[in-house]
Symmetry: C2
């Protein structure tokens, strides 16, 4: 399997992260990253489709995993309960407890419009996978799509809050709170007027 240094991908990822933190994303060139990892320009693009992707390859398997979670969910007709179960389980399993790393990574992503767009793309991929899972369970297109989007939105925002929070609350807490907020909104509708 590994004839050269077998850590090629990892070496490129850490080299990239370091350089992005030192000089900024836009100011870092791909040849610089490759050089720090003792590789060449061409090799970088064999492992990552573009310069942005080097920050996102960690979540490559999220779509499959979320599909697995939904498949393995306890049987219920309650779609909202299924959403709660799904995001909660994902929150418990997807994210290692390295908040400081995520904070650095987010800082880089927020610093560049292109990275922000790529991040949104990943979020959309996740939503698509969730939707596919719901469709598989027999929910109709409309329900599956909306439930998936709500899930993805709640999760994405929760990660943001979790990163900024220093109380030690787990990610699940923030996801649930987001879903509860939406639910409360929808339930209160038509009540006050």
């Amino acid at each position: 399997m590994g004839r050269w240094e077998p850590n090629t991908r990892a070496r490129l990822e850490t080299a990239a992260l370091e350089l992005f933190l030192e000089h900024g994303f836009a100011e870092t060139t791909v040849p610089q990253i490759a050089a720090r990892a003792e590789l060449t320009n061409r090799t970088f693009f064999r492992h990552f489709r573009d310069k942005r992707e080097v920050l996102f390859s960690a979540g490559d398997d999220f779509p499959e995993r979320i599909t697995g979670i939904i498949r393995g969910a306890p049987k219920t007709d309650d779609l909202w309960e299924l959403v709660r179960y799904g995001v909660d389980t994902a929150a418990r399993n997807f994210f290692p407890n390295r908040r400081d790393y995520f904070r650095l990574r987010r800082a880089i992503i927020h610093s560049d419009p292109g990275l922000r767009e790529r991040d949104l793309g990943k979020q959309a991929d996740l939503a698509a996978a969730i939707r596919a899972g719901f469709l598989d369970l027999g929910y109709d297109d409309q329900q599956a799509t909306m439930a998936a989007q709500v899930s993805a939105v709640a999760m994405h925002d929760a990660i943001d809050r979790w990163i900024d929070d220093d109380s030690g609350a787990p990610l699940e807490h923030f996801v649930r709170r987001n879903l509860d907020t939406i639910q409360a909104m929808a339930r209160a509708a038509g009540t006050s007027a």
Copy 2:
């Protein structure tokens, strides 16, 4: 004001759309677009920050307009009602009745990953503007963020369905239906089990 042909931007936009439809987005070069519009490469980038943006400049004022809509909304404490009002009003006012044009445009966007990401970026910009409007009205961060995301998601998906629908139903119909789906989900939670 106009010394040359005064339609520079519009000429570039139509030239780009035509070429994208003829040869595909990736296969079309910026010099080609500029040439068809009888302009130069450099002028293209003075009007659009990159090749993708030429397909999106039409919605540049959406964020301001949505903020205006929320500011001018009838007073209510019912956030969900406010969401309904906002997306409904936006649906009525933002989109001209050129479904065929939107269909072509969407076909191009769906054909290229980069364009899809840019599209998601625009959706996020819209969500941010909506959130700002809600914050302005005094809602807390959590509520404002979730309500804004729900609004943006409902709108984005509604446009998709509206484009594909041939019954002549107006865009508002699909937005409302999306919101109703979410509301029904949230209200039914805990009912069936």
